[in-house]
Symmetry: C2
Subunit: 152 residues, 2 copies
Amino acid sequence: MKVPAHARAHKRQELSVLTGRLRGQSRKITGPRQAILEVLRRHPHPMTNREIFAVMPKGRCDLATIYRAMHLLEEMGMVKRFDFGDGAARFELVGEGDDGHHHHLICTRCAGVVEIDECFLREIESRIAARNGFKAVTHKLEFFGICPACQR
Amino acid sequence: MKVPAHARAHKRQELSVLTGRLRGQSRKITGPRQAILEVLRRHPHPMTNREIFAVMPKGRCDLATIYRAMHLLEEMGMVKRFDFGDGAARFELVGEGDDGHHHHLICTRCAGVVEIDECFLREIESRIAARNGFKAVTHKLEFFGICPACQR
DNA sequence: AAACAACTGCAATTGGTTTGCAATTGAGCG
DNA sequence: CGCTCAATTGCAAACCAATTGCAGTTGTTT
């Protein structure tokens, strides 16, 4: 059954479920990976690798290991990569059975993030695909503006 | 790769018009800047600084100068910055009186680009702004897929 | 033509990300 | 439980887009 998109931020997956997904793909459940998943499941918004590294108990994991883990998790579909245009990739945990596709509204002053759970472009996307003969069309979309707190 | 012509590419501005815009803002019309504008006006799709550099007659301009020029031109509103998610910024000339806002459909195999001249999100954008109390909301949107030629 | 600020080339630097390699460790197996 | 091996990790070096300091050059103004 499909999980409603708006449940994303509220549904925090158990660590055991997450590691189970690793095991299911015959990947090792290592200390660093558990630490990374632990961090991600506590954070509702996309994080840069450096942020993950900074938040993690010191010495649990090397920064390079985080980069490698994020590649793995992305390939497995466990995290989704987002690009806020500031040169650093951000990652967010994806719920089981979800493809993680959604968007964000980002404050350009304080970098605060609002999750936008709907996607308005599914239909437009297929129209564009058809019109141009493209297949497997996806899109990246983020909104930018100034949040209420930063307007004063 | 081959792409259909579109309205935007036909509005190729005269070099004299472009330099005139520089002059109007009391910026210097230098050799490197003319060379850069010359390259941009011949190319209908966004280019990376490195691509501009590669296409330019050798020795006409340093790569660092291109970076600086693109910042200037962007501030002046003469070029628009686009991000295709591959780590390199791309730039496209903006017509006079235009804000340059539009989107692209990018082939993930051959990197070919189709210009999408409409924008479907103006209304959704203001709805999102209102709902979250944000001001000055904009968005970045690009489509990705596999072009007809690359499907075989 | 002189004068000055804007601009450029070059080299060094930054910041995010990747990679080579030797050492470590998780998972299956006896 | 300990053994074995491939997967994984830490560390340092490398990479790449982008930025910057500085000294020399050039466009524009007077």
